[in-house]
């Protein structure tokens, strides 16, 4: 399906000619397209930062979000304060 979608995009040929309006798109087809777009986006990430296929296919959208938060998005720098007491040792 992935290669079919790539070809369809590249050639600008509709996947299904019989679909006349957006609302007619069966949810199965729109699911596959959404999923492929998600995978295309994830493949833009460097190889070592991509989520494992188990998360892509079996995980929820929250699982993928959590992975991206953990691996890709930089954490806000945390304030560090050093308390120096009067007593040494």
């Amino acid at each position: 399906m992935s290669s079919l979608w790539d070809i369809s995009k590249a050639l600008r040929v509709p996947l299904d000619n019989s679909i006349r309006t957006l609302s007619e798109i069966p949810y199965t087809v729109s699911y596959v397209i959404r999923k492929l777009r998600q995978i295309d986006n994830l493949m833009e990430l460097p190889k070592d930062k991509r989520p494992p296929s188990r998360i892509i296919w079996e995980g929820t959208s929250e699982d993928i979000e959590e992975w991206i938060d953990r691996v890709v998005r930089k954490k806000e720098p945390q304030d560090v304060s050093l308390i120096i007491g009067d007593i040494e040792g």
Binding site: D16, S18, P26, Y27, T28, V32
Partner: protein, 236 residues
């Protein structure tokens, strides 16, 4: 079952999302109807209707005076504790499966490079073919462990608490069945047309669909289910 095999699904089925069928009445009369897999908006509406129906049933089943409770919730007060626990374990099996699903990790076979020899490709294909059984085995083991753990926990509970929990498990099962039934019903209602251009629905309202004889609803839901690809195949 999860499988790394991506080549067995028939892609053309994804595009066979509408077809006609004959709806047969009890008297043997046949009417042609046109069924299509519904879109995202209709799926969302069906989900909302199904959730409402499930919540309504849950309230009724929890009401000690409702007809639904009397009809559906079996009295298990006479059961031995051991039997009650086993019934609960059986009813909860799917929940245990969901719980352990993430912990069962079987490494997928590594795809050979483009310069792989035929023998390497054969070996890879064998690993792909064996993968579902290997994973199923691990999955069964994990469920058994989870069930044993749960059995021990339930054994520590008093009979009154167990009866209450059993009741909740049974209610949940009925509500889930109702959710699925109503969800599919709405999908079929939205997706069944009287004309070939898929512009005129067969049923004027959902109630009209609901009031069909059971055999007619089964005919339509079976046909609708055949038209849509399941989630497992969609992921391939």
């Amino acid at each position: 079952m999860i499988t790394p095999e991506k080549n067995e699904v028939d892609i053309s089925k994804l595009f066979q999302w509408r077809a006609s069928t004959e709806l047969e009445t009890k008297e043997g009369e046949k009417t042609t109807v046109f069924v299509r897999v519904v879109g995202d908006a209709e799926i969302n509406q069906s989900r909302v209707k199904a959730l409402r129906a499930s919540a309504e049933l849950r309230n009724k089943l929890r009401d000690p005076n409702s007809d639904e409770r009397i009809a559906y919730i079996p009295s298990v007060h006479a059961l031995e504790k051991e039997n009650l626990i086993e019934m609960m374990l059986t009813l909860n099996m799917r929940e245990y499966a969901d719980r352990v699903r993430d912990s069962v990790i079987v490494k997928e076979p590594k795809e050979p490079g483009s310069n792989a020899t035929t023998e390497q490709l054969e070996k890879y294909q064998k690993e792909v073919d064996d993968y579902p059984d290997k994973r199923l085995e691990k999955f069964k083991e994990a469920i058994e462990k989870e069930t044993d753990k749960e059995r021990k926990l339930l054994n520590k509970k008093g009979i009154d608490i167990l009866l209450k929990e059993y009741e909740e498990v049974v209610i949940s099962q009925f509500c889930e069945a109702e959710l699925n039934r109503v969800f599919l019903g709405w999908c079929v209602y939205f997706g069944t047309f009287a004309t070939e251009d898929y512009n005129v629905r067969v049923f004027k309202s959902y109630d009209e669909y609901e009031n069909l004889p059971a055999y007619a609803k089964t005919q339509l839901t079976d046909f609708y289910n055949k038209l849509q690809l399941g989630l497992v195949d969609l992921k391939k």
